[in-house]
């Protein structure tokens, strides 16, 4: 696990907030403020309006009124894009202006089934490689402090390495506890395949022992959670039981198909905490950022500790 790699260039994190002025977007503001204080140096607030439905001046007025306190952050930009498909417009913008993290809260619930709803988040995950941070409208627990429990979902797929790297580095950055979560699948062909590599049936105990080996390599405070089931049914319960405050997961675990349209798995909304969806091989910028800044934060921590020691002596 690469940590404290001082040879890497110091990068500042560029955050992009995609907003449609929904309640979820306002709910996300405390988390963005926390990111801005931790590691982000610039924030771009983007709104995509449909010129057939909204007048540009109205959209501009709304954009300037949204998250007004961000004007004080320094390095905040507001970008108004036009287009009928918000995901396509955002993806085109991201292709021009690379960002390290895309913040895209869930759409507000309408309370009715929407079988033909096109999930902007799902399409953004398909169209861009930028890690996507999301949260549901009903999620609670965004607080003015860094997360103390950062979780990562380990899966049998090949894409769990990148989420694990990022989760570990983020946990180390904040001195948080890293929670490794693994869902042991129900008995199927895959179980038999896994059994061949472990020399014994893949049970919760086997999974916990294998994760334990991983924990030894991480040199972090870790907790291991295993359960039997699949993400869609069991992950939200596990996250709730572990009181996770930030969850890292591979995009492949999150993307679903509802009818023939791409959708985001419902557990991202029912988990009750923010979720960072990471592409398996294309999320290097964020990873590099954490690596570079861990050592910097450690120096700051040491300085703060010195001050508090002196104060207590007085």
């Amino acid at each position: 696990m690469p940590t404290g790699v001082s040879s890497l260039p110091q990068r500042e994190m560029k955050l992009l907030l995609s907003t449609r002025f929904s309640e979820s977007c306002f709910n996300a503001i405390p988390a963005i403020a926390q990111w801005m204080d931790d590691i982000a140096s610039s924030l771009t607030i983007v709104h995509v309006y449909n010129p057939k439905k909204t007048h540009r001046s109205d959209a501009l007025a709304q954009l300037s009124g949204f998250f007004a306190e961000a004007d004080h952050y320094g390095g905040t930009r507001r970008v108004l894009l036009s287009g009928e498909d918000p995901a396509k417009a955002m993806a085109a913008y991201l292709a021009e202006e690379a960002h390290d993290l895309l913040v895209c809260p869930a759409t507000d619930q309408v309370g009715l089934p929407r079988p033909f709803h096109r999930s902007t988040r799902a399409r953004l995950m398909q169209l861009t490689s930028t890690p996507l941070w999301t949260i549901s409208a009903s999620a609670d627990g965004l607080r003015a402090r860094p997360p103390q429990r950062v979780a990562c979902v380990i899966s049998r797929r090949s894409d769990s390495r990148r989420p694990l790297e990022l989760a570990a580095q983020y946990a180390q950055f904040h001195g948080a506890c890293l929670q490794l979560m693994y869902l042991v699948p129900e008995v199927d062909d895959g179980t038999i395949r896994n059994s061949l590599s472990f020399n014994e049936p893949l049970s919760e105990r086997t999974a916990a022992r294998e994760l334990g080996k991983l924990v030894d390599a991480l040199s972090l405070t870790c907790e291991i959670y295993t359960a039997r089931g699949v993400c869609s049914r069991s992950l939200a319960d596990m996250v709730s039981r572990a009181r996770t405050e930030l969850l890292f997961i591979g995009k492949n675990e999150v993307l679903r198909r509802k009818l023939w349209l791409p959708d985001v798995a419902s557990f991202t909304d029912s988990a009750g905490c923010p979720v960072v969806c990471v592409d398996h091989d294309r999320s290097a910028p964020l990873s590099r950022l954490f690596s570079a800044r861990v050592s910097e934060r450690a120096v700051v921590r040491r300085a703060a500790n010195t001050v508090s020691t002196e104060s207590s002596m007085i």
Binding site: F21, E23, F26, N27, I29, P30, A33, Q34, M36, D37, A61, Q62, S64, G65, F66, A68, E69, D71, H72, Y73, G74, D108, Q109, V110, G111, L112, L142, R143, A144, R145, A304, V307, S308
Partner: protein
């Protein structure tokens, strides 16, 4: 705070649709059972149901008034904060000896006024449990910011910083004792406003006010079709669901406005009021580069 004339349905519907759909299905079952003669036992005399509705209305009105009292007090406190902030800026600029705006404002005066803007931002973030430091970076110097990071109550620490600056001005002879006392009274007002806001934030409405109306509304909505079915028969689901909607909506209104510092659309518009204070205070200093006023977003001011 909602400033538009009408409430959009997409904000109301998600909160109540499950209950209304369940009630409609229940009412439909009752009316079908009765109308098609499957059983006549489902009809109750309407006499006990109607007075119960009246009592429940009084209960709900009381609860909504209590919630509105909290919301209105929060708004009044922020109104008082606007006034006290202007007073403190005026006192700092006119009481302390030295240059006067717009041409010649001393660094000391500028720092006090900027700290007051920082206090308002920090109080808003404190109440919304939001990290204030990204905002404070441009309002206070690095040393003060580092000190504030060690404090648990950042707005209270900012008031101490302002008080320390006033004390330094007094000891340096730039502020006489009468004016120092007057300015300190304004700081006390600010401290009182902060304390009152914290009281509202940290003390929920008594849970009995929330729990019993909710239970009673459920019981009433379930009993209602039994009282109506004898007279309305197949029309029962429509009328009963409509009456239930009124009670459910009234109960929801109370719940939504009872917490005015939760970063929701029902909040006291603290971001907007902070901006008003900032613009006023910067103008007091003679600054010309002012932030824009905040426009409502989708009919909501935050």
């Amino acid at each position: 705070m909602i400033v538009r004339d009408h409430l959009p349905w997409d904000r109301v519907w998600p909160r109540i649709w499950r209950r209304l759909v369940l009630l409609f299905l229940f009412d439909l079952t009752v009316s079908v059972l009765y109308t098609f003669g499957l059983t006549k036992l489902v009809a109750l005399p309407s006499l006990p149901v109607l007075p119960m509705g009246s009592v429940l209305s009084i209960f709900l009105a009381f609860r909504t008034n209590s919630a509105y009292g909290r919301w209105w007090e929060a708004r009044q406190l922020w109104g008082q904060l606007v006034n006290s902030s202007r007073s403190l800026a005026r006192q700092a600029i006119t009481f302390i000896q030295g240059g006067m705006p717009p041409s010649d404002v001393t660094e000391e005066k500028r720092r006090i006024v900027h700290l007051q803007i920082a206090f308002v931002c920090a109080l808003r973030c404190h109440l919304r449990r939001q990290n204030p430091f990204p905002e404070l970076r441009n309002l206070v110097d690095a040393e003060t910011l580092a000190h504030l990071r060690t404090q648990r109550n950042v707005p209270a620490a900012i008031l101490i910083e302002i008080g320390t600056l006033l004390r330094a001005a007094f000891h340096a002879g730039r502020l006489d004792s009468f004016r120092w006392v007057a300015t300190d009274q304004t700081l006390t007002e600010l401290s009182n406003v902060m304390g009152a806001c914290e009281r509202i934030k940290n003390t929920p409405l008594p849970r009995q006010y929330d729990y019993f109306p909710r239970i009673l509304v459920h019981v009433y909505c379930v009993l209602l079709p039994f009282g109506l079915v004898d007279g309305l028969q197949l029309l029962t689901p429509l009328v009963s669901t409509l009456v239930s909607f009124m009670f459910v909506a009234l109960e929801e209104v109370g719940r939504e406005i009872e917490n005015p510092f939760e970063n929701t659309v029902h909040d006291t518009p603290m971001t907007s009021l902070s901006r008003t204070i900032e613009v006023n205070l910067r103008q007091h200093l003679g600054e010309t580069k002012l932030p824009a006023d905040i426009q409502p977003v989708n009919g909501f001011v935050y």
